[in-house]
């Protein structure tokens, strides 16, 4: 039997990080820490190893598989020494408990079928399509469906999905699936899945209710396979440790908006220490001073010299510090933009929906790291990406992963909350997404 080994660096940009030496240093650090935890009367508790594994996976410098393998090896070694240390499940290990070992949620296969991204046409009265994304065997349409009053009582718990059918101009019937969505008084916003994928000859798809056509998606539009012409992808300029701490800072910001229950401490000191020891963060990095300044501003205990807070962080703090905040704009807008592959993830921004509960971007994704099916209580998810959005008035909005649901294949449907919500119907959005090794900036037209 040859020794088994999981791949080295994290799910996102594994090759790049392993090649840059981050992966090897991180693995060596974790293995030496596990060795220290095994020694009798060790200063290192096995929980410390588990937390360090969590942090290194979050930073993208160690794959989930390899981290699991190292921790499992340590657990077995403790067991055969009669040491059954009480342990607390770490955040990532706990939340992934229902996934088989090493499974990557919505993993990209070896042979990737190109997605066709069809932008929605001009808005018409009634239901609103954000975009239609055709994959290998299905079409996914994030939409807002308006049900006529006689379709059922608006206060009912679920929309009358069972009465809906899918068809096209050739009379073909489609099975319809409905992802997680929001249902407010006769309007439902979420993804509709058409099965199978429509043939190339189909001119339009429609959702039919007993009271008539609810939505029509035009398939004759020119497909936009690639990102907007004004999308630029480039290598990450910060270290993986700086990336992770920036995302932790964003989690603190999300906490400040009071939309999410975030542990106010977030264990930032331990995170920084692990990243430094594992070679993923320089002790001289300016991110330390930025975090200190942010914590001071948010009234959290902070040590060390404070630096300048980035303007976009300040924009979020300022927006939520106002006594009266503008109400979120109401409506559904189409975007329909496929972004260049980012750290192994495919992302299509279908559109956005905004209303009383906030503004949410709707995406079709594949190749993301493991994510839970439901947002648990606690800090926002860290899916390995930092999301920032700028509206046409220059206002910054932090993107926070709200929920993700499967679409039946390798694709997932992702909803990202914008903090603060949009307060006006912006005509464009500039999206900045930073992964572990790459970042992309895209200018996207928004059609309400």
């Amino acid at each position: 039997m040859h020794s088994e080994r999981a791949s080295g660096a994290g799910e996102h940009g594994a090759d790049e990080l392993a090649g840059s030496g981050y992966g090897e240093r991180a693995e060596t650090y974790l293995r030496l820490l596990a060795e220290a935890a095994l020694r009798p009367a060790a200063d290192v508790h096995s929980d410390e190893v588990r937390r360090a594994a969590d942090i290194l996976v979050d930073a993208g410098v160690l794959s989930y598989e390899l981290a699991t393998q190292i921790v499992a090896g340590m657990q077995l070694a403790l067991r055969v020494r009669g040491r059954t240390e009480a342990r607390t499940a770490t955040r990532r290990l706990r939340r992934l408990v229902h996934y088989p070992p090493g499974q990557q949620t919505f993993k990209l296969g070896g042979q990737q079928h190109p997605w066709r991204v069809l932008p929605a046409g001009p808005a018409t009265p009634g239901s609103r399509l954000m975009a239609l994304i055709t994959t290998a065997n299905r079409a996914i349409a994030p939409v807002t469906l308006y049900f006529p009053p006689d379709a059922g009582p608006p206060e009912s718990g679920t929309p009358p999905f069972a009465s809906l059918t899918g068809t096209d101009d050739q009379g073909t019937s489609y099975r319809l699936g409905f992802g997680d969505g929001t249902w407010t008084g006769g309007a439902w916003t979420g993804p509709v899945i058409f099965l199978p994928a429509p043939p190339a000859t189909a001119r339009w798809l429609a959702i039919i209710s007993p009271h008539g056509q609810l939505l029509r998606a035009d398939l004759a539009a020119t497909p936009r396979r690639d990102a907007s012409p004004r999308a630029a992808i480039e290598p990450a300029t910060e270290s993986p440790g700086e990336r992770l701490l920036a995302r932790k800072a964003e989690a603190l910001l999300a906490s400040y908006t009071k939309s999410y229950a975030v542990d106010r401490d977030l264990g930032l000191a331990e995170v920084a220490a692990v990243l430094e020891r594992a070679g993923a963060l320089s002790p001289l990095s300016p991110v330390h001073a930025r975090l200190t300044a942010l914590k001071q501003l948010l009234g959290l205990p902070a040590d060390g010299p404070a630096g300048q807070i980035p303007a976009r962080w300040m924009a979020v703090i300022a927006a939520y510090g106002r006594r009266r905040r503008p109400a979120p704009v109401a409506g559904t807008a189409a975007i329909g933009a496929g972004l260049p592959e980012l750290d192994g993830a495919r992302l299509v921004i279908a559109g956005l929906h905004s209303g009383g509960s906030g503004t949410f971007l709707h995406l079709v994704v594949a190749g993301l790291g493991p994510l839970p099916a439901r947002r648990p209580d606690g800090p926002p998810w860290d899916a390995g990406f930092s999301w920032w959005v700028r509206d046409d008035l220059g206002g910054w909005h932090l993107g926070v992963f709200e929920d993700v649901s499967p679409a039946g294949g390798p694709e997932g449907l992702l909803r990202i909350a914008l903090l603060p919500p949009l307060s006006h119907p912006t005509s464009s959005l500039t999206v900045e997404i930073a992964g572990a090794t790459q970042q992309v900036t895209a200018d996207l037209p928004v059609k309400w």
Binding site: M1, R31, M74, V80, R81, G102, Q103
Partner: protein
């Protein structure tokens, strides 16, 4: 000259059938005195006959002879006691789906087992039969994920089984694994597994360095040494900032550490020049500021935690 030349034979008793049988390790090989024609019993087992536990154990030993997980679970020093009870193994085996262990062993049997069993009977032309159509319990489980989970469970049970052989065998298996990885033909693989091998080396050498010079084991880092010579060793700092950095060939674990030679009468052994039992010649460092010198060591004939003890 082999890595195991400084190791005497070892024996232990294992449950087999309704009784216990002796398993013997000698000269790098596992032998089954109670099963003089192990190969024939292997073939019968592959054809559906009953496979004695001793035979299965020999297969398991061979199957893990280059499995680095052995080093993760196994002992780091004579004082590091690793203990597994045979009753625990029986319980874990009983929880595995019926036939899984046998099938998995059969699938890999012919390729890996024969070099590690000393043959008493005919040796030529014995090939294990493959299960017809692979239609056993593994394939019936369907989902690849479930199959993988079961495979890992089986691997863990096998590992525990090998550890249940006791300390003497644990060190000899660790030596077998590291010797398998130390050859010049595996330099590229070693380069890919450098962090893992650093952990394996550091975990063991750090305890030897503590016994030798009182260095805090947490302050020791060892990296695999490739190329000529025994490697390097450097101690820096004082007090709490005292650090030891070393580069040692992976073969140090097989030739020195597994033979109980890591520290002999206050000397840190960095290489074996002439292996042997009960006499061997080693390269040893008397003190942190000293250079390695060639010295002769003699086995005392007594064991400490499964490791042979030596004296200058």
């Amino acid at each position: 000259m082999s890595w195991f030349d400084s190791l005497p034979a070892a024996e232990t008793a294992v449950p087999c059938g309704t009784g216990t049988h002796t398993v013997r390790w000698e000269g790098g090989l596992l032998t089954l005195p109670a099963h003089p024609d192990a190969e024939a019993e292997l073939v019968l087992g592959a054809l559906g006959g009953e496979r004695p536990a001793c035979i299965a154990l020999a297969q398991t030993w061979a199957g893990h002879a280059d499995d680095l997980a052995v080093l993760t679970a196994g002992p780091r020093s004579a004082a590091d006691r690793v203990s597994v009870d045979w009753s625990e193994i029986a319980e874990l085996r009983a929880k595995l789906p019926s036939g899984l262990a046998q099938m998995t062993s059969m699938l890999r049997m012919s390729a890996t087992v024969t070099p590690f069993i000393r043959h008493s009977g005919p040796q030529a032309g014995t090939q294990a039969a493959q299960p017809a159509g692979h239609s056993g319990p593994v394939s019936r489980l369907g989902a690849a994920g479930m199959e993988e989970v079961l495979r890992r469970q089986l691997r863990q049970v096998e590992l525990l089984e090998l550890l249940a052989l006791g300390a003497e065998f644990q060190f000899r298996l660790a030596g077998t694994v590291t010797a398998a990885w130390a050859g010049p033909d595996r330099a590229a693989e070693r380069a890919r597994r450098r962090p893992e091998l650093s952990g394996v080396l550091t975990g063991r050498f750090a305890l030897a360095a503590r016994d030798w010079a009182g260095v805090d084991p947490d302050a020791v880092t060892v990296t695999p040494h490739e190329g000529d010579g025994w490697g390097t060793l450097e101690i820096s700092g004082t007090g709490r900032s005292r650090r030891l950095r070393a580069a040692l060939p992976l073969g140090w674990l097989a030739e020195v550490w597994a033979g109980g030679l890591a520290v002999v009468d206050g000397h840190l052994v960095v290489a074996v020049e002439q292996p042997g039992y009960p006499l061997a010649r080693v390269l040893a460092i008397a003190a942190p500021d000293a250079e390695p010198t060639s010295v002769e060591v003699r086995a005392t004939g007594s064991l400490a935690g499964g490791l042979m003890t030596w004296t200058l």
